[in-house]
Symmetry: C2
């Protein structure tokens, strides 16, 4: 976290209370929240915090390469880990789960002559926990 703050400062980015709050919240979260979800939580601590600020801050952090954005269903979710990795969206428990598999496109940044700057690989299905629960129930 401190390293990120240092990097952002060096880029000349003003670190306001709101921005630090979003950054901190995302880094302590493993649930890949939406802007809306982040706003709902932060509003308890900072009642004046606006949803637009959350969107702006997330944009800024994405531009700065400190977080990544995932488009899942109709909404954008945010991941504090900026390195490309895959995700599974479980249609039973609705969780978004990190999937760490080796991916040649992520590594090389190229595929069939095209240049790849960002990878969004989302698997839709049922997570191992829910599979077990379903099998156990039957």
């Amino acid at each position: 976290m401190d390293a990120i703050i240092e990097k952002l400062k060096q880029k000349g980015i003003v670190l306001t209370i709101q921005r630090l709050a979003v950054l901190e919240f995302l880094h302590n979260s493993s649930s890949h929240p939406t802007a809306e979800a982040i706003h709902t939580k932060l509003k308890k601590k900072y009642p004046m915090m606006s949803l637009a600020t959350v969107y702006n801050t997330l944009d800024m952090l994405k531009q700065a390469g400190e977080i990544q954005e995932l488009t899942i269903g109709n909404a954008k979710h945010f991941d504090p880990i900026p390195q490309s990795h895959h995700h599974l969206y479980c249609r039973v428990c609705k969780r978004i789960i990190d999937v760490e598999i080796s991916c040649p496109v992520c590594k090389s940044g190229r595929v069939q002559g095209h240049k790849v700057e960002e990878v969004q690989a989302v698997f839709y299905g049922i997570c191992s926990d829910c599979l077990q629960r379903e099998n156990g129930a039957q």
Copy 2:
């Protein structure tokens, strides 16, 4: 196309003029259009055609397993090829290009104990054509 129509009929799906128009348009298209784009084109031939019908038909075709849906940017795009394959979105020419690479998750339908029913792998970057153009220009 005829084989698909036969399959849909056997599932008891009524094939109206509107539904056939959407199916046919998508099959003759390689541009991965949105519902909006399909509607705009079809309205020229069928001025009464409603956007809601296009959405309904695309939903129906997806449920029937005859097409696939891609979430790219903020919009849903449709692909007449129902088999899982990857895509590249070129941020220069805005095209969505099919990327055929071997993918163990697509093949097996499993990853790290999770069950995978649908794969959405989108690479964001610059396509080979635009890369060449850029290099040529410099």
